[in-house]
């Protein structure tokens, strides 16, 4: 088949209709495709929510590494409880907070496979703190994708361990008072202190550039897992327009102006020599 450009196709337009399969969808013309490992159905996430972007980049990494058949995921309890409806890889749905223990069971029995958990802030840093800290401390060779939006989304807007000081939620209606309701938990920084932890990096998905960086970080973490370096955590600071009572745009501004100054982006711990 001869190499045709858009100019050539355009020249032919007057004579014949475009055949989309043959003409437009040439491999060399592709600038974007949905990851194959992301199941092509409508997601239940609210408009503007960062979860869908996080799902997408994780599955893009799985596609690019060609590991769809070698990876097992663990879904949490929270908004992403249905992650296994969207991710076309073998998955297990864990009890609330127990994802790192479930992942430990899977990884220990199949150390040659890739294993990841996908958890929100309540799941990972409140009810699942013990499971998270001990899996990290044992250096379990797994990836934890940690979605931090500072709120309980699925139960519609209660205070999370990562809720910012002064932030209004349904259970901190006058704003989070750190004197009575505790301080936001810097769980990623805490975990980075443990010797079993290889890699901790914090990202966001509120701008295209940040999406690219977050994706790179996920790829790195899975590469480190392949090398057997130990526990890796990629935190994604993101939004919750519905429960923050904001438009998607306002919520991304809130991420930029309030969340990120509190949870600064970038590497918190990298493996030696990396």
């Amino acid at each position: 088949m001869s190499e045709r450009t858009y100019v050539d196709i355009e020249a032919e337009l007057t004579d014949q209709p475009i055949n989309f399969d043959e003409d437009i969808c040439l491999a060399e013309n592709v600038v974007y495709v949905k990851p194959q490992t992301l199941i092509d159905i409508p997601m239940h996430y609210c408009p503007g929510c960062g979860h869908s972007t996080a799902h997408k980049i994780l599955m893009e990494v799985v596609d690019e590494m060609g590991i769809q058949e070698e990876i097992i995921g663990v879904a949490p309890v929270g908004c992403s409880v249905f992650a296994y409806h969207y991710m076309n890889v073998d998955m297990q749905e864990a009890a609330h907070g127990r994802a790192c223990a479930v992942a430990t069971g899977i990884k220990r029995i199949m150390p040659e496979k890739y294993v990841f958990t996908y958890q929100g802030d309540g799941d990972l840093a409140a009810i699942g703190t013990a499971e998270t800290v001990h899996a990290a401390n044992r250096g379990e060779n797994i990836l934890v994708v940690f979605i931090n939006n500072g709120i309980y989304g699925m139960t519609s807007g209660q205070m999370a361990p990562t809720t910012l000081p002064g932030m209004v939620t349904t259970t901190s209606p006058y704003g989070r008072d750190v004197k009575t309701q505790g301080h936001p938990l810097y769980i990623s920084n805490l975990l980075a202190n443990l010797p079993g932890v290889a890699y901790v990096s914090r990202h966001s998905v509120h701008t295209p550039n940040n999406v690219r960086k977050a994706k790179k970080s996920l790829a790195k973490a899975l590469e480190y897992q392949k090398q057997g370096l130990g526990f890796c955590l990629v935190e994604i600071v993101t939004n919750c327009p519905s429960n923050w009572k904001m438009t998607p745009k306002q919520s991304n501004q809130f991420v930029e102006e309030k969340m990120i100054p509190f949870y600064p982006l970038g590497d918190i711990k990298v493996p030696e020599g990396k």
């Binding site: 297990q92 899977i106 001990h134």
Partner: protein, 357 residues
């Protein structure tokens, strides 16, 4: 023919686990069953490559079991009463997701932190579900160290046959006492896994996912109906019990596990005094051997149910006989073990002298 050895109950159970080709054990120390984790840590991975991991809590241990069971592996955990309470959340999820696994509860006296001495006070928790939702474990009640070995093999087989969690409901006395046991030969570990297991998506096939979440009520009811149909099937196929001297019996002593052995001794003493006593020992306490009680009830003057608790299995015995004969209860609690003399004395008090306490 396997090896003949003198072993402690907990160690015999651990040895049986290794020999049954168990792939992984996740557990947390608690008296009176800490020997299990110790024995496995010493023996298991060197001999079969089995994974042995000390978890940070029983909550974590049962969820590690969930993960490895979901990967289609033969997995087991053990604990004692307070630890088993912590595992109830995980067991509910495991039962709902229909994952096979085996656990042993080496029961100690409760409630609360209680005592480290033997008890049977976790009967209700074990046979009626234990965690939230309508589900059942298959529950085996050994009364000897030999059965601690045999029921490991049987437990794995039943779990895998029905895709259901199985519990060995034993107690601190059987866990700690030494008896001679015949050990079965080392079995190979599995190399092939069920087609539902999450071992990585198979080419050309749909992904596997394991879940207990079904938001639509119609779907969740369907899951419940499937589970209940399975439990009916288990009740049809898997009832096991021991019956002693029922043919001419006018009275029956009944109890499970350790107490059943004491009942047999008490029965012998009663027969020496001329009382026609038999013994029924449920081996499976779920499924409960209802029919054997129902069948014998019309010929009896009464049943004495003996337990190391405040009277739990007695409710199932009463339901089984459905009023056809009298069912009385005698029990000790808090780690106390009834003696044969005590059982005989209480039998005579209730049924011969007609006294109530």
């Amino acid at each position: 023919m396997g090896d003949l050895k003198l072993m402690k109950g907990n160690e015999a159970l651990s040895e049986a686990m290794i020999r049954a080709g168990c792939d992984a054990y996740f557990g947390y120390p608690i008296t009176p069953q800490s020997e299990v984790l110790e024995y496995l840590a010493r023996e298991a991975s060197q001999r079969t490559g089995m994974v042995v991991l000390q978890a940070e809590s029983e909550v974590a241990a049962i969820n590690m079991i969930y993960g490895a069971a979901g990967a289609g592996r033969r997995v087991m955990t053990t604990s004692s009463s307070p630890g088993i309470s912590l595992m109830q959340e995980g067991l509910s999820y495991i039962a709902s997701a229909e994952l096979p696994c085996l656990l042993a509860n080496v029961v100690r006296g409760g409630p609360g932190l209680g005592t480290i001495q033997p008890s049977q006070a976790d009967y209700f928790q074990s046979v009626k579900g234990g965690g939230h939702g309508d589900y059942k474990l298959i529950v085996l009640a050994p009364s000897s160290v030999q059965e601690m070995v045999d029921f490991v093999k049987l437990g794995f087989e039943l779990g895998e046959k029905y895709r259901n969690p199985v519990m060995i409901l034993t107690d601190g006395a059987i866990g700690q006492m030494m008896e001679k046991v015949v050990l079965f030969e080392q079995m190979p570990r599995k190399t092939e896994f069920p087609d539902w297991a999450t071992t990585g998506k198979k080419p050309g096939k749909d992904r596997n996912y394991i879940t207990s979440l079904h938001i639509q009520s119609e779907k969740m009811e369907e899951i419940n109906l499937r589970l209940q149909a399975k439990y009916k099937e288990i009740e049809k196929n898997e009832i096991r019990y021991q019956a002693v001297n029922l043919d001419d019996a006018e009275y029956v002593f009944t109890g499970f596990g350790l107490v059943a052995r004491i009942c047999i001794k008490a029965m012998e003493m009663a027969r020496a005094k001329g009382y026609k006593v038999g013994v029924i020992r449920p081996i499976t306490v779920f499924p409960f051997p209802t029919q054997v009680y129902a069948d014998i009830a019309p010929q009896l003057k009464g049943i004495l149910d003996v337990e190391m608790n405040a009277g739990q299995m007695v409710e199932d015995v009463r339901l089984s006989v459905n009023g056809a004969t009298k069912v009385e209860f005698y029990g000790r609690m808090g780690g106390m073990i009834p003696s044969p003399e005590e059982i005989l004395e209480n039998f005579e008090r209730i049924y011969i002298k007609g006294e109530t306490k």
